[in-house]
């Protein structure tokens, strides 16, 4: 399937709106219909934003395997936006925790980050996302050079692991939901391990034929 530049533009606009819509719904409900968010609307908002951050991390990580399976190279054109949405949802998730749970009590927040392992890993994941968001522009790819840009953006792997761990350690007893995220992440990372292993075994020629454009980690 080949997409013309015009179609890719339209697709990007669609994906942008779709990706923003969970936030839009939550924001609209918070302002006009908090009742729809249940008895603890702030908790609902914080958790939904966290869920969406994890989902966008997984979707971003799904681009490469999906492209390999389908041959749809245009998927790569969406990846930066998807990754930035993961960062966006991480940011508003953190903001809602700071505002709703701690009412901007910075000392208490710092204690929370240092003391509670699930907060520590969540916050670490957020900090690691910062350099990725900051170097997401074409100009930054050029400035860093494709090789080091790619190396830097491999940080997304530990970020996703920390994100799932954050969820896992947050739940009290029933880990069904975090386990689903963990399985999906394991599949996405496992795919990369298998692929790298095959490459190393001499599938070089075939691999380079499928190699993505410069500046994309896989």
């Amino acid at each position: 399937m080949y997409l013309t530049p015009g179609r890719i533009g339209a697709l990007k606009a669609l994906v942008f709106l779709a990706a923003l819509s969970p936030f839009g719904r939550l924001a609209a409900a918070a302002v006009w219909f908090p009742e729809l968010l249940g008895a603890n609307p702030a908790e609902y908002i914080t958790r939904s934003l966290g869920d969406w951050c994890l989902r966008f991390l997984l979707v971003t990580l799904a681009v490469t395997p999906l492209r390999r399976f389908t041959g749809w190279n245009w998927l790569l054109r969406l990846r930066r936006m998807l990754g930035l949405f993961a960062f966006f949802y991480a940011s508003v998730h953190l903001a809602s925790y700071i505002a709703f749970d701690h009412v901007f009590d910075l000392v208490e927040i710092l204690k929370d980050v240092l003391k509670r392992p699930f907060v520590t890993v969540g916050f670490t994941a957020f900090l690691l996302l910062l350099p990725l968001a900051a170097t997401s522009t074409n100009a930054m790819v050029r400035r860093l050079g494709a090789r080091s840009w790619r190396a830097l953006h491999r940080l997304v792997y530990p970020i996703a692991i920390l994100g799932v761990l954050h969820f896992w350690w947050m739940v009290k007893r029933d880990v069904t939901e975090p386990a689903i995220y963990a399985l999906l992440l394991a599949a996405l990372l496992g795919h990369r391990v298998v692929h790298a292993w095959r490459d190393a075994r001499g599938g070089r020629a075939a691999a380079s034929a499928r190699a993505p454009a410069a500046g994309s980690p896989r």
């Binding site: 008895a39 979707v59 799904a62 009290k172 007893r173």
Partner: protein, 313 residues
């Protein structure tokens, strides 16, 4: 695709149809209630459950405005029905609450079994209590019930009765949550005998002047307002007077997180939640500072005189 449709609007969050149809009637009733309000002490509910006999408001009641009925009955931790807060409202309807008996035995002279009808005949009163969950949220709940000591005295505890072990219902065919080994079922809780005999400790059989909804622990539950909510076991079937400190369900599950005492205490940090502040349902901001013993220190602090509350958390 990984993108799931968000389930932002659960069926349980919408007004049930029968209630919606009755809205004018309810509005009229509410208006009438506002006029007659001063006459009845109990808070009126809209749950459509059997009304309990008119009850006097206890001197132990808090003057705070109770949390709305719909929030008290739709935001619950009752893991036997699932771990989501809305699961109990959705699934607890299946719980079989009749026939129901409560066995009171162990270290006492006259062990016996109480039928629920008998318990409902005890003099009831309304107790408006603050409820503080270990998850850093709180509510104000107008319970209807009687002091636990009224029941315990009837079985005449002996000198070996140092603790009470509470066992709650386990109905695998009505409780979808017990299929998962989330906790070691049945749910067990415990109190020291002096805590159990304290006048603030009640067995609740009602809420907002009506029978207790299943999701809140029908037909009879424990309420210990100065402890985190999980200490107040729901749907009680047995109370055993024992000499040794009972091992509670949460202690078994995570001993470093949940202690036997679990008194509300902003100075004892929980590994998962800071206990400094709390969110009063349904507010957005956790702007209330949590008070030691959930504000009941005046009545209960002497129970723990000389104890290191950080050690006995």
């Amino acid at each position: 695709m990984l993108v799931k449709r968000p389930h932002d609007y659960l069926p349980s969050e919408l007004t049930p149809e029968p209630l919606y149809r009755r809205r004018r009637e309810l509005l009229r009733a509410a208006a009438a209630g506002a006029i007659l309000g001063a006459a009845g002490a109990a808070h009126a509910a809209s749950g459509g459950l059997p009304k309990l006999p008119s009850t006097a408001r206890s001197r132990f009641s808090s003057p705070e405005k109770p949390t709305e009925y719909k929030h008290v009955t739709r935001y619950n931790n009752f893991y036997e029905f699932g771990t989501d807060k809305t699961d109990p409202y959705q699934y607890a309807g299946r719980l079989k609450t009749r026939p129901w008996t409560v066995v009171v035995d162990g270290e006492c002279a006259k062990p016996r079994t109480f039928g629920i009808e008998e318990l409902l005949k005890l003099p009831l009163e309304e107790r408006v209590y603050r409820l503080r969950c270990v998850e850093a949220w709180s509510m104000v709940v107008p319970w209807v019930g009687f002091e636990l000591n009224a029941l315990l005295k009837q079985v005449e505890p002996n000198g070996n009765a140092k603790f009470v072990e509470f066992t709650t219902a386990l109905q695998p065919d009505t409780m979808p949550g017990v299929r998962l080994p989330v906790l070691d079922w049945p749910y067990v809780e415990g109190l020291r005998i002096d805590e159990a005999m304290h006048p603030l400790t009640i067995l609740a059989v009602g809420l907002y002047g009506e029978a207790l909804p299943n999701q809140n622990g029908a037909p009879v539950r424990l309420v210990v307002p100065w402890k985190y909510g999980f200490k107040s076991g729901k749907s009680i079937v047995r109370m055993r007077l024992v000499e040794k400190q009972p091992l509670t369900a949460w202690e078994k599950a995570a001993p470093h997180e949940y202690g036997f005492y679990s008194n509300v205490n902003p100075d004892v940090d929980h590994p998962r939640w800071s206990q400094k502040r709390e969110r009063r349902i349904p507010e957005f901001f956790a702007r209330r500072e949590t008070v030691i013993f959930n504000g009941y220190g005046g009545q209960v602090a002497q129970l723990y005189a000389g104890m290191d509350l950080k050690k006995f958390f």
